[in-house]
Subunit: 380 residues, 4 copies
């Protein structure tokens, strides 16, 4: 009854939407991840499904969900080959995108046309985005399909390389077919995260082959059936560091591989992006202070992002002790307890407390190294 | 990727569902509302939409949502006349129900075939449920449509009589057409609650005309976009007091008008149902105790239901004081502070503390009256 | 075991604190309320109790709670006259403040020395803050007690004037004693909110007599037993618009009565503060847009504060329609649907959409008036 | 202001408690853990502190918190030797218990007198509970202190044996002093969990030396500062399987070592208790069903407890497949997908699906083995 009906010729033209103050406000929750110098951080999901393939929602719902969950850009990427609702909905591969367009425009979302080329391994499933016409990809030979995408200027990435249904003997494999795609300039990115799964092997390949990293939801259900978004369980997202919030900038940034993969509390990407992202996130309230003898000082650190940085001490200092572990809780101040070692040090010193951020991975099993920088004036 | 694919002839037959332990368990949350003596309390929603009219989810989603939210019975009631997705999905009025059937069976849900006869006022919108063939209702004259429903043994109720789009000068009106339906035995129930709106006028008519009371969601969106179910914001539901959990018993109970309307913290229905429902919900842990002079005793009351009973004192007693207001929090024990008035009363007395339950309405603006029964042994 | 023990002579000196990564991080949650031009908004509670009168926590807990809940300033104001723990803790009226001092310093809290002069009505209970020595107030005549406070430069305010235990025939009364205090310059403020209660009468007096407005917790329990702070149920707080975050500025601002009272979703204060506070809180993302005929545009409004502004339309415009009600959810974007009326208007127009903010009170029953300002370029 | 004042001679006798309907109801949340046949499961915390040693709350708060968090029994066990508030509160070792007594009685809590004998290692910290007079334990020699406790019929257990402040080279050690205590019948239990830490070594010793297992909070702060109890982060508790809910039964059960240690999602105890506790917790809704060929059936399992049982498949069956992992979410139904293997099996068969419960430990690294029992009627 809340649907805003258009005028119904059959019924007369008086049906309007309701207007009571609803306890569940239709609202967009911003994702707090800082911009990097020179770039805006766009939050994106480039892999979603609707009733037009094997998904379970009408295309407009994907735009609504994306808006509410703070995304900037979205691609609907229904399967070209797997169409279980075909009997009801036919095979128009452009239709889902076209239906979501008005809603996306109203909500100021960047909606990117996409399709999922859905084959057995190799090459497995490939997403093509920034298409102009999905129908041209619906051909029997998968190489022709990729060719048709690239011919439209599309960006192509490999989906869920570690999907257990497509791996052999529990091993994720890179096939000659992938090498071929790469060499022909037809493979530009790879999902290192699909839904809740992270694939270290894909992460390695991304680094080795200079592929853009992706974290996508691959959502089929209504989003809230799979993610408890009201309770902080955010959908996976691909962060894109773009010059502007436009489709052109988004595309340029993807081809320039300026992305990171954000899923749960894990953030995966190049040090060149993750390091400034971390430093832009935090703010040390009292970084300068005097310290006498074995005095204890509580440094207050504010984390302005939504990411809970899990710090682990990565070295010692001669002059002070500091915590072995510290979680910088999202949106909060936490206390870093610094204690003098009672040395003879005297005067103003710059201290760089060495930490690793356990949940920020610049390569598989390789956490980002950072320092917390203080300026301490010592009195023995 | 979590969708359980059937075998895909095109791709080979190796695609399986994922298996990682997911933080969001697919689970059913029971609705805690007690059974009444001789009956089981079935939680039902008889008004929902899918992509097959103006809803936004595939029919199976309605079954999944109903199972997760603890419902026992569900009707998909797509509009017969308002079909904005007709260009994509055609006009098969039975299709949504048929598609949801397997899922409903797997999940042990009672799925009832329904349709919404969608006309301007009068008669407004009418739901017909327990249909055998929705197609027969798609005729131009609405009376013929109702006739076709009743001819199938259907139960017919009036939807959202207070919908602002169909009311005149801010007044909810009962038309001669409704009297006619009633006299012909073609109107059996009425929504006193639709989504978040309660209509006192409809409540009055239900009592006057002996219509079964309904609270339905009329949901078009994915449920979780409109209700924060993970945070206790439950969907509206019609409680049906049935002899057994079967379609036949459900139907019998509806025609016998053994229902109540449950929405937010409000429960609307006959005293004959609400009174035992309240008493079956609560348990007084220490109802018998000695009391000396002006002593204070804390009686612990457990509310086993999900409904927060909001008690308001409805009288005084000579011997003890007791709280003016008390909320019996769902699933919890609360304290009822009873204090002696220091009278000369002596020996064992049965006390009936008079209260009204502000959120249980047996008629518009008429809360249910109850007593909290104690047995106190007085010493002056 | 998590307590950081100092060296225990009796036991040897090996006892240290634990170090495991705890799921409950010790953290400060900032209160998001914007600064006003030229001022910083300090969040304060000037009425709290500890075990040193009838409270139930050690004084350091009040500092810890205040830090965690985002306060800038705190006063512990134990009763001078009501000391139910006297047998165990004696009657040192300065002790609670002195014990909390180190913790407050470590956490960078402004801790203000205070006491509650606790008498029957009139004058009821009075808080004196910015004391130097509470002991001097412990005298039998209440006027002498106030005199002793004022002699120390204290700021004096009337606590919970509407407390039901101290009102007569359900009426809150202003006594000649209050007039006397006022005329002698010994009454500077008044609680318009105490714990969860708002007193409209006190609000009226505050305006009439130019008293600073206060909202204080008057907390006796551990804070979290009375407020579900992890679930958004914030403690009441007095907002002070100070030039700097120092004790001197805080005191200056109080005497200059630059305060507002914040409790639940209600904010009470002068228009001079509430109006800029509102405008600094919100950000209209797309305030400029073209509009053709009866087109519909969704304006996105971000509320950067923690306060859910409840807008109610306070007028109409000739050119466009806009919502009757809109809640600007805290920290979120919501949609303001603007629709052309299809008039012949042409060209760029500044539109000021008139609203009242129902939960911002500049006087009893007088909501703040604001406008949402757009620049629309019309095409017929 | 919500404190219920007694009559204050100084002020007159009119001060009463407030009465507004408070959004935060004072309520007890039951802990749902089933009783075992012949026993009631008492939820207990035998290690807590107050201001009378190094804790930070008044003793009555411990009773209030215990009642709200669903405990049946509580011991306040302030240190005998470590008294940082001595200057304010003196050294009456019985005082905390005595002050909490009225509140505990009002709330129907079993309050057990206790003290913590607080020494360096060996023997470390020992709790003595079921004391009659704590003062007699305040002697310089720790053996004399234990003797004084045992002489009162006390139950003595070793606290946090794995506390990092009292371990050597990262190893938890059993000293000759512990053997001596054991041989003299003066050591009856051991904490395998203290606050959030589980000590596998202590678990091994408990089994080897037939000591009762404990999980205690050792809480010093207000409980809610360390546990987010409103969000499901429960305090650790010792489950005691007693014949009745009386102090005598509680004591008998402890000496008979009928306990288990419950912390987070982990439950530690003997198979003799954990096995029936699991089976009493769950209910298989549709355990009997027909199965044809490779048909798939969804068995619904309800977990009536608060413990999320984490099942891991521990074997295979010839006739059906079933999930590798399944979390039985607390208070919910989950789906166990059973699929026929298409064998020639025919007729009614009892199937016992073998699982381990990963979070129920009957010994270190030894999860409880259980079966899910079905009765399947096969048709090929």
């Amino acid at each position: 009854m809340k649907t805003v009906f258009a005028c119904l010729a059959l019924l007369g033209c008086a049906i309007l939407s309701g207007s009571a103050r609803d306890p569940v406000t239709r609202a967009r929750t911003p994702v707090h991840i800082p911009d990097l110098p020179g770039y805006v951080t766009l939050k994106c999901d480039f892999h979603t499904h609707t009733v037009f393939s094997d998904g379970l929602v009408w295309p407009t719902v994907r735009a609504e969900e994306a808006w509410r969950e703070g995304l900037d850009a979205l691609a609907i990427t229904d399967h070209l080959e797997y169409l279980p609702h075909k009997a009801d909905l036919g095979t128009n591969h452009n239709r889902a995108h076209d239906l979501a367009r008005t809603n996306a425009n109203d909500l100021d979302l960047l909606l990117v046309r996409g399709s999922e080329i859905t084959r057995k391994m190799p090459p497995g499933h490939l997403n093509a985005i920034f298409l102009t016409n999905s129908t041209l990809l619906a051909v029997s030979n998968w190489q022709d399909s990729v060719q048709a995408a690239v011919g439209q200027g599309a960006f192509v990435f490999w989906n869920h390389p570690g999907w257990e249904a497509q791996i052999t003997n529990n091993r994720v494999l890179w096939y000659p077919e992938h090498t071929a795609l790469l060499e022909q300039g037809q493979l530009h990115g790879i999902e290192v995260v699909n839904s809740r799964d992270y694939y270290p092997e894909a992460h390695r390949w991304a680094i080795e082959h200079k592929l853009a990293l992706f974290a996508n939801s691959d959502i089929h259900n209504p989003l809230n059936l799979d993610y408890h978004v009201h309770n902080g369980d955010h959908r996976p997202m691909t962060l894109v560091f773009a010059r502007k919030r436009t489709p052109e900038s988004l595309r340029e940034a993807l081809f320039a591989r300026r992305t990171a993969a954000y899923s749960g509390s894990r953030l995966v990407g190049d040090e060149a992006f993750l390091h400034p992202l971390f430093t832009q996130s935090i703010q040390i309230k009292n970084a300068r202070f005097p310290l006498k003898g074995r005095q204890r000082v509580f440094v207050q650190i504010l984390n302005n992002s939504d990411i809970p940085y899990e710090l682990e001490r990565a070295g010692e200092l001669d002059t002070v002790t500091f915590p072995k572990e510290l979680t910088l809780a999202p949106g909060k101040y936490v206390l870093l307890e610094v204690k003098g070692k009672g040395t003879k040090t005297k005067g103003k010193k710059s201290l760089a407390l060495p930490y690793k951020v356990a949940n920020l991975l610049i390569a598989p099993e390789t956490p980002l190294a950072i320092t917390l920088d203080l300026e301490v004036t010592f009195t023995p």
